[in-house]
Symmetry: D2
């Protein structure tokens, strides 16, 4: 079988680095080019030092349309807002190319919802509906059939996986509190005050309470899975670790749910899923790092009136590059776990 | 003025160490003795290495009743469950002695509630009602009048301070989700799997979801402050930092609350409070470390149907030893901030 | 080709966990059994949570001789001192079995040197000379021919790799200062005061200055490579990270060495070595984590009278399990990098 | 007694923040003004969030000469290189003002040595000799008599304190290896790649090996104390902690030194020193954090041919602001420990 030819647009960030790291071990995909405006001409290992000895690629600055004509699939790993304006010329240049966009630019179908979440009009609103939201556990068949995939946000992935069992049951409705905690790698490669080590190393804080831009994509995915009248109250937090997102969701069902009922919902959702692991105790960020796993757990109060849904993921893998490769595998009819089977490290 | 004579029972833990550190700078209190069974005969700086050059005390193993006869106030900093059985003999030996207990042994007035929270009958149920729950911001006058104070739990302090403005308004009712995150010092001085550095340093996890023993003391304190029909859903988490507790509480009011209304409640609660700081942005654990401050903030959703209440404290100071000294100051009619004014470090 | 059958004796520690993690991806080796007295009967993923979904093995408590008769190679990952007394019965039971011992029990050939380093007589001194010291970069051919390999210590690996280029040149002699810094995973899985998170997370300290037991094995390996009259002054340190060892060695040559001369020595040593990477700037612990790489660099003072030799390794991989697998590959005539090619993570 | 009036030039960095934190508790000094060009008009607690509730000062942008006329002492806490060009106008405007400069601008007496260390000519070479190098433990009487003090560098402080006992004995000579490890706060408040949390949190690396600009000031201070023909080989390292510098110095004496001899030297140096603590075991960064202590220890090899000198300091206190205040106390005839007695935190 010929290897699938992939290129990465904007590969000097952490997302691009993880795509390169994971695809280096993929049996059916070859990364033939990776672009990065600021790093053009440098070997990828000059930026992603872990790839010294693994990758001989050199960053280029070719424009996406030219790239698109030569590859089977294009990963967009640009900063949020940059892919939106450049996608049309890609599709014009190479209509059959498959695209997986890691940014938030195509995650919502409704231009007005997008504008509300991102604070500006979408530059290519007519393209929004051509993208499939690429959360395989929530919408595997849509992904299989897709040529254009919007890869979910990291907080969104954590929240969707935690709540998916309840959403599918049709029991999820009303106000749900979603408490998310992310490591510092979620802020990207550019140093900034919130990721300055002296400030971050022993700190814990909230940010953008109740107004994070991932809320609409979570609500949309959960509604599509069966939730009704859902309204999320989400507060993201910054924790002093590098990788991982931990989600704690609080749901107060209108009528009581028993622990065995909830357990059955989680088992049903996790069964057969290659990347969901139902933990008997709490998920742990430290146990999913480096992997595409989403570890889940739950708790139900004695009176059945409170259900707590827990998940842990690696924000850069399941919350970004790993999920993108999982989507690629589905889009090309490969085994879903290809290139994604390596266990994480412990400790 | 004669200095108040204080002794610490069980001073080899982090709580005892913080009492010694903070009282070393107290203008009106002298620690005359500190006991520690396992460390008797050792200088306190052999255990609390930070006190080398500050304290010349040596741990003793005298029994609490003997101690009580010689001091004005006795701090109990024993592991949970150990103070309960030894308190009666203290009061018999020295009826007028003032006692501040840092454990959970006397935080609930109702023996049945205590037994439910701690999983065993209380060994001295008739003494429970003689203790005042020592959260000065919630019950300053009771503390002033008290001879026996049960110092609040660390998670409890964080949750009570975060929700106190809403409780006082009479608007707090129904199900409230309380998400707490603690640093590793909350686990005490004994090494254990959950605080083993290789396991903790890059991890984040939940524990005891919905069944933590601090829930009843939080509910009781908030009800006393004005909450109605309150039912907390609390999930504690372990974060990879040493000091601090961050609390994120989610409240869905029956009728909408506006952001200015909530702001007014927070301002009213914080005004005049020497240790509450209303932050315009998020509280930060890193900014309260080492201090007795509780930093507060809040967010209200656009529709007024969700209120998020945030707090950050140092679990060992405001959540333990600092609050205990604040209680001492009130009990002895001292200035409330005596010995507690040193700012924290940054970074 | 039939897969090589391997078993691990004492597989519940971090070394055993890393053997399992890395061998899960080895194309030619199958782990058929792993023992752990305290965890017998439990699935390996109950202890090594990262292996949930990767390994279905269950810990057994079979004795090493019985195991040895059924496998091609036996890894010993017991605590230091435990393998020494059990090795003879293994060789008696299964003379042809290959053994790779991760402990310090067989790293020195001279029983007296061993007794001096470890503070007690060796229980099987006649077996010492039958083991080859398994540092492939220093002694590849000996390893290829070996049936019994003593895997180097973690600090030893870092120091040997840093100084190997100078040793080979014949220029290394006299007093050399070796400053080593290890992450907390080097202390093993059992919680202890020095790895208690509140104590370790923001600390840095030295331990066992000038008397660490790895010194004799480093000196022996460097002498075998060409150093003369070498005497190491080594101070190990504990740093607040989990994985990695950073080594800074200071050498004051009797006659000046120029930077180009030293560069040529490093290039000559690194050339063709699959796991040595010569870095133009400083090595970084964060860049080798999870991998079998040893990253090297050096600096020479303007007057040529001081040479600084730097290395970074992952203590659990190149300093332990990865090097053990590299040794296995050589002992069985496999490609040296088999199972060890996955790049590390960044960040 | 009138309080000493102090001002801080450039107070928005970590050094300025620590001056403000520590002077807030100083019984005899009042900070009357603090400047910061970029933050002028903001309250100091907007930048130093720990000072909310402690300081009501607002950053100004007054020029140093104007300030100098109104105060008794001026702290310069500007980035390296900025004070040098502005000092003359200060002395012209207010000849009697005392100055304590925290930068490297006036730490060397010899303009050529300064130019070699800092890579450019000094803008006011004739002023160099008017400054006293402010390391009280090495040169207390000079500081007492000084009007202008150059505060030592952080690495320099750690190295000088570690080696001072040997230098005073006249035994310190020849090549000495100095291994220094600093926390991230030493890089200042501006985010940069080396302090980006994802890169720093689990990393360890060297930088500027053998060419760090603190070497000449260390050599000068130790020679003044009694060292002969000294030549330091220093390698600074970046560790994943926030505060602290740990120094490990390796000295190979020409004739053997016994452990009791070295112990006597350390005891003689530490005796009577208010901020030196001789530890029986290793110093620990975590135990000096927040304080002006320098913790010392040593080890001697069995043959007496290697002496290892260890120190731990807080880079922002003893290595910067605390030492500056210690210098102020001496310059004004105050008790040397005034404002500096608070113990550190543990954990």
């Amino acid at each position: 079988m010929d290897r699938i030819r992939a290129a990465i647009v904007g590969g000097s960030g952490y997302g691009g680095g993880e795509l390169l790291r994971l695809l280096a071990a993929h049996p059916f995909v070859e990364v033939v080019e990776v672009t990065a405006q600021r790093a053009a001409g440098k070997p990828v290992h000059a930026i992603h030092e872990n790839l010294l000895g693994t990758s001989d690629l050199v960053f280029t600055d070719r424009a996406p349309p030219a790239l698109a004509r030569e590859v089977d699939v294009l990963f967009f790993a640009l900063p949020h807002g940059e892919a939106a304006g450049r996608m049309r010329e890609v599709f014009d240049a190479a209509p059959p190319v498959r695209v997986i966009d890691l940014s938030g630019d195509f995650r919502l179908r409704d231009p007005e919802a997008w504008a509300a979440a991102y604070g500006k009009p979408h530059p290519a609103p007519d393209l929004l509906a051509s993208f499939v939201y690429g959360c395989p556990e929530a919408a595997r068949e849509e992904v299989r059939a897709a040529r254009r995939v919007a890869n979910p946000g990291c907080f969104a992935t954590g929240a969707i996986l935690a709540l998916l069992p309840l959403a599918r049951s049709g029991r999820l409705e009303g106000r749900v509190a979603v408490n998310g905690v992310t490591g510092s790698s979620g802020s990207g490669t550019d140093p900034k005050p919130g990721t300055h080590h002296p400030e971050r190393a022993a700190d814990f804080r909230a940010y953008r309470p109740l107004v994070h831009q991932h809320v609409p994509e979570i609500e949309a995915a959960l509604r599509a899975a069966g939730a009704r009248g859902l309204s999320l109250a989400m507060v993201p937090h910054s924790g002093p670790f590098v990788r991982g997102i931990f989600t704690t969701a609080y749901f107060f069902p209108a009528s009581p749910l028993s622990s065995p009922e909830v357990a059955a919902l989680y088992r049903a959702t996790c069964e057969g899923e290659p990347f969901l692991r139902l933990r008997s105790e709490t998920p742990r960020v430290g146990v999913v790092c480096g992997t595409n796993y989403g570890d889940l757990s739950f708790a139900v109060s004695a009176d059945g009136r409170t259900v707590v849904c827990l998940s842990a993921i690696d924000n850069l893998v399941k919350g970004m590059a790993g999920q993108a490769i999982q989507n690629l595998n589905l889009m090309f009819g490969l085994e879903e776990t290809a290139g994604l089977r390596a266990p994480g490290m412990h400790p």
